[in-house]
């Protein structure tokens, strides 16, 4: 690994006419991680991935990928792989032709790996991509992206249209790639469940802004669900930030961020899973609109 930051963004924004697709995005993603990019549809996930791959240019702020401007040089482009939404392939070209194309276009092409994967997948190289099933097409797109041997692989909603078995098979191959190459991976999904097992770093986007970013284990360790008799959130001690709260006449239920353990016995404290955590920040962004971005301290 030559750099310690794979994606660095500072005040990054993208505007389409009047619509702000991404705003004020500041990131410092460490290398060697599998990063989950989650958020509802239209939150700006595709925009961020396209900015990182160099398919889009920012309208404000800056972004650096592996220490350079995205897609600025052929060498830079060779280091970054991008699998766009719905894992596109050329419907009229055969699998063999896809591999030839990959070999011609990529200086670091691993032809041996590509051929082996196609054999393992039990696919006929003469078959046209347009006749493959959704799962097979996704596997072909992933094979092409991995055979390029990128240092960073970006995938936009790669499993959204796949059935559970095809999802699992896709993730198996992707994780094997991450393990043997030590490469960095960023993949987006609007479903946390798709990412829960595979990600060790998380970015939550909602309404065009980054709502939460950090190491998954640290995020889970520093958030707690508290339930107890009704009380004003303002009575919590310093260092405990309320992310989400709901109250009935008798009961208060809070999601609180605190690096120190909650030692007040009048609260029942529970762990959160990743989905609860993400939903708390999303619903928080819906009511408050704009909040300061909490950054996990590393």
């Amino acid at each position: 690994m030559t750099t310690t930051t794979v994606i660095g963004a500072d005040g990054l924004g993208k505007r389409y006419g009047r619509r702000q697709a991404l705003a004020d995005c500041t990131l410092d993603i460490p290398a060697g991680r599998v990063v989950g990019l989650v958020g509802p549809n239209g939150a700006g996930k595709s925009t961020l991935l396209q900015l990182a791959s160099g398919l889009l240019s920012p309208t404000s702020g800056t972004i650096e990928v592996l220490g350079a401007s995205p897609a600025s040089t052929p060498a830079q482009m060779a280091k970054v792989g991008f699998v766009a939404q719905d894992t596109p392939t050329y419907a009229g070209l055969s699998i063999r032709e896809h591999l030839h194309l990959g070999a011609r276009l990529n200086p670091t092409w691993d032809a041996e790996f590509a051929a082996r994967r196609i054999r393992q997948l039990d696919l006929d190289p003469g078959q046209r991509a347009g006749r493959l099933s959704g799962g097979q097409r996704a596997q072909l797109a992933l094979t092409l992206a991995i055979a390029k041997r990128p240092e960073l692989l970006l995938l936009d909603e790669p499993v959204a249209s796949l059935d559970p078995l095809a999802r699992r098979e896709f993730m198996q191959v992707l994780m094997e790639f991450a393990a043997e190459q030590g490469a960095s991976v960023v993949l987006s999904s609007h479903l946390v469940a798709d990412l829960e097992r595979v990600c060790d770093y998380l970015i939550v986007l909602a309404r065009s802004r980054v709502r939460l970013v950090g190491d998954v284990d640290e995020l889970l360790a520093s958030h707690h669900r508290l339930t107890g008799a009704y009380r004003e959130p303002a009575t919590l001690p310093a260092g405990q930030e309320v992310i989400h709260s709901s109250h009935t006449e008798r009961q208060s239920s809070l999601i609180v961020r605190s690096t120190a353990p909650i030692d007040n016995p009048s609260w029942t404290t529970q762990r959160l899973d990743l989905e609860d955590l993400v939903l708390a920040y999303m619903s928080n962004s819906a009511t408050i609109g704009s909040i300061p971005v909490p950054e996990a301290q590393r």
Partner: protein, 129 residues
């Protein structure tokens, strides 16, 4: 060689689940000194989880002195957890089975049995400081 599996709904962190499964296999005598654990690549290709999760579990097991990581060779079990107590498992299991039969006879359903077992297990042992 053991195979890992993950329970997403258990509320236990993924790396902890892997650690528990190794310790469990060692206690049951399924893993013994000198046995190799699957490589990180083998685990992730099977279970479809983050490689760093597996590494974290293996490092923790190494810290506990249960395994050793030999670069380029693999991760090996360095201790046997089972030998002293394994012989007692059979008779203990038999007693438990007798107890379960009695509990069912007394009309307890599965949930009541589990609740009674767990609450007894977690209650502070009598006569201990």
């Amino acid at each position: 060689m053991i195979e890992f599996h993950l329970d997403a709904r258990s509320g236990v962190a993924n790396y902890m689940q892997l650690i528990h499964q190794v310790r469990h296999a060692m206690r049951l005598g399924l893993l013994n000194e000198g046995d190799r654990l699957p490589t990180v690549k083998e685990v992730v290709a099977k279970v479809a989880i983050n490689p760093n999760t597996v590494l974290k579990a293996y490092r923790e097991l190494e810290y506990e002195g249960l395994v050793t990581l030999r670069t380029g060779v693999g991760t090996f079990v360095t201790r046997t957890l089972s030998d002293e107590s394994l012989g007692a498992h059979g008779p203990l299991r038999l007693k438990l089975q007798q107890w379960l039969a009695e509990a069912r006879e007394a009309g307890l359903d599965e949930e009541s049995i589990e609740a009674l077992l767990l609450s007894t297990f977690r209650a502070p042992a009598e006569g201990k400081a």
